[in-house]
């Protein structure tokens, strides 16, 4: 074997190992979710399904409000994404393109919002949201999710905003463009991979959030997917088939979304080459 071939073999082995660590659990969810119940809990697990059934998925659809949870999750995540993008872009633009005395300190303060954990803020936030009559509304979740998505988003945007030459903006303003026109026509298009990354980051942050959704939402009609899924875990009985179907169905939409836009998220970050 030549030196070249050997190094290629090592390379592909390493890649395969890495991807196995990532993918294997998902393979296990999906392949098991189509097995009969008795095969799922069998003491000799089967790597490839020996039986095939869609009962668990049928159960999931007929006995839980999966479509409602899905809609709620999409609505909450999309709104979180929209608000986060607007707030973070505007803040990042202010901080990096129009620096003012204290802007660096302010920037640090924003990132340090993560010092205070959600679990500690749960109690006061609950009381606050309830006094605003926002309990059991999706708006409450959107408010919270933006809070936890925005600070990191501002940091993500920095590399993109910092890499745009100031001369471009100056040229635009010499042409008589207002700051808003400059932002929308000059800066944002150049920073668009970063904005896309932020949008996806915010969406995912909201999509996976569990703690607040479980406490702030009371009625089934407003529940998001993670909480709905936790609901079918059940207290006394574990129906692994239903649970795996639920896990699979909860993961599927986000996988599909990533098939469509995943590369923008990763490429956005990579192209921006986070310089920090």
């Amino acid at each position: 074997m030549t030196e070249h071939k050997r190094s290629a073999a090592i390379r592909y082995t390493l890649v395969t190992l890495t991807m196995c660590l990532i993918i294997a659990p998902f393979y296990w969810i999906y392949s098991s979710s189509v097995k009969e119940s008795t095969e799922i809990v069998s003491l000799a697990p089967t790597l490839f399904p020996q039986t095939f059934t869609l009962t668990h998925y049928a159960n999931l659809l007929s006995s839980s409000d999966y479509p409602i949870y899905l809609t709620n999750s999409v609505v909450v995540s999309a709104a979180t994404m929209a608000i986060t993008v607007v707030l973070a872009t505007s803040a990042a633009y202010g901080l990096y393109r129009l620096p003012f005395p204290g802007s660096k300190t302010l920037y640090r303060m924003i990132l340090l919002a993560y010092i205070f954990p959600g679990s500690l803020l749960l109690i006061p936030l609950y009381v606050m949201l309830s006094s605003l009559n926002l309990l059991d509304t999706q708006l409450a979740l959107i408010i919270i999710n933006v809070t936890f998505a925005a600070p990191f988003s501002v940091w993500l945007l920095k590399a993109f905003f910092a890499s745009i030459p100031f001369e471009l903006e100056e040229a635009a303003s010499l042409d008589g463009a207002s700051w808003l026109q400059t932002l929308l026509r000059v800066v944002l298009p150049l920073a668009s991979p970063g904005v896309a990354s932020v949008a996806i980051f915010a969406f995912i942050t909201s999509w996976t959030e569990y703690m607040f959704a479980s406490i702030l939402i009371i009625s089934d009609a407003n529940r998001t997917l993670p909480v709905g899924l936790a609901g079918i875990i059940g207290q006394y009985v574990i129906d692994w088939g239903l649970l795996l179907a639920g896990a699979g169905a909860t993961t599927l939409p986000i996988i599909l979304l990533f098939v469509l836009i995943g590369r923008y998220f990763v490429q956005g970050l990579l192209e921006g080459g986070v310089k920090a």
Partner: protein
């Protein structure tokens, strides 16, 4: 994402969603009753909804609706909702949950209604006591749940085990049953209610039922508790290594799949076959009793409904709904939202035709009758000895019994040291 228009679009999208979320619910004229219960599995929700629909159709002046919560969060959510003013009208409860909500002043006494149900349907004796405190009854008993030892008949037959008369027999049997990838018994050592229940079941059958003296002081650290804990540790050696992360479901899987020869468990008729067990192979027996203990028993949970609304019209509507539920035919359907697990708490329910005609109940009738028999002598930690001390709520909310069990199983302490530490933890919890 990078054009001006799509950004504006997104902004409007966000605003539109805001508006949507703010649309208030439509007002209605009928009396609305909101029920919170914690029976999340889909078929239970469906069964309850069926009964609600029937009731609503027959009672035009009342609209009952259910919101399903989880036991994991209700201890946080219910007090918060009482404070926020959006508490339900009816809230399901177990005995140690009631004192917490009572502390907030939100629970209505229901003495008269409970007396009415007792008169028409005949409550079993074990029903009302756990909810009686300070001269009132605070919740309406709905059903009972009780533990027993469930086992795979063929395992015991192969090992030549016939009767387990005492703990020495039991220990020998469990040891003999262990081997060839099979564990003699599945005993949980998690920090949860399930482990609390099993540890307490050992305590009952070692003669350590009472946690409190008559004056409300603790009597946990005693000889019988020590014996129970030591024995728990002894049997745990023959339990699967992941039992420190178990809840009820894992025990079910272990029994049904044949990995465990026996488990200490509620009556889950629905899952045994799904987990790979052959229905004809499911055996049940009373937990063996330690030598010299005179009043053996089993742990049982009476579940109940608390009335939280202080509006008289709503209270009356809530009672009307519960009267409907206690009608024997409806009650049988209600209990069989989880066949076997939920046992009747009234004489008329015990006779109910719908109760005994559920296919699973028919299939496992013998086993179920055995458990029903035990359930009538059931008891619950902190609710024995004729008195209830509200501080039990803090002991059970923190799962201190299972924490003591873990000291023995996980940390390898002996019973005496664990009992001493346990009493300290309990004192700390209730001071």
């Amino acid at each position: 994402m990078n054009s001006k228009h799509s950004r504006i679009c997104l902004t409007f999208l966000g605003l539109a969603l805001f508006m949507l979320a703010l649309v208030p619910a439509q007002a209605q004229d009928a009396v609305e009753i909101v029920i919170w219960h914690m029976e999340q599995p889909p078929q239970r929700v469906e069964r309850v909804q069926g009964l609600i629909d029937e009731f609503n159709a027959a009672n035009p002046g009342i609209v009952v609706s259910q919101d399903v919560q989880s036991w994991g969060e209700i201890y946080t959510k219910a007090p918060a909702s009482v404070v926020a003013g959006n508490a339900p009208d009816i809230l399901f409860a177990i005995p140690d949950f009631t004192p917490i909500i009572r502390e907030l002043g939100a629970v209505q006494p229901v003495d008269d209604f409970v007396a009415e149900i007792d008169e028409t349907h005949g409550y079993f004796d074990v029903g009302i006591e756990p909810y009686t405190s300070d001269g009132h009854v605070w919740a309406i008993p709905l059903w009972n749940m009780a533990h027993a030892i469930w086992y795979n008949i063929d395992d015991l037959e192969e090992a030549g085990i016939e009767e387990l008369n005492n703990w020495a027999d039991w220990a020998n049997a469990v040891e003999a049953l262990t081997g060839d990838g099979r564990y003699g018994i599945g005993l949980p050592a998690n920090r949860n209610l399930y482990t609390d229940q099993v540890v307490y079941n050992f305590m009952i059958n070692a003669g350590a039922s009472d946690l409190y003296n008559d004056d409300g002081s603790l009597r946990f650290n005693n000889e019988q508790t020590v014996q129970a804990l030591d024995f728990y540790g002894q049997l745990s050696q023959f339990s699967p290594p992941d039992s420190p992360s178990w809840a009820w479901g894992e025990a079910e899987v272990c029994l049904g799949s044949g990995a465990c020869a026996m488990v200490n468990q509620f009556a889950f008729l629905r899952s045994y076959e799904a987990n790979g067990g052959d229905p004809a192979n499911l055996g049940v027996m009373r937990m063996p009793v330690a030598e010299g203990v005179e009043d053996p028993g089993t742990i049982s949970y009476v579940n109940a409904a608390m009335i939280l609304t202080d509006d008289m019209a709503k209270q009356e509507a809530a009672y009307e709904f519960l009267r409907f539920i206690f009608q024997p035919d409806n009650y049988g359907l209600f209990l069989n939202m989880e066949p076997g697990l939920f046992l009747p708490i009234t004489e008329s329910g015990f006779e109910s035709e719908t109760y005994w005609s559920d296919p699973l109940v028919v299939q496992y009738r013998d086993q179920l009758e055995t458990v029903l028999d035990y359930s009538r002598s059931g008891r619950l930690f902190g609710f024995t000895g004729g008195q209830t001390f509200p501080s039990i709520a803090r002991i059970s909310a923190q799962n201190l019994l299972s924490q003591v069990g873990q000291l023995v199983v996980v940390d390898g302490l002996d019973g005496a040291a664990a009992a001493e530490e346990g009493e300290y933890l309990m004192m700390e919890a209730i001071e």
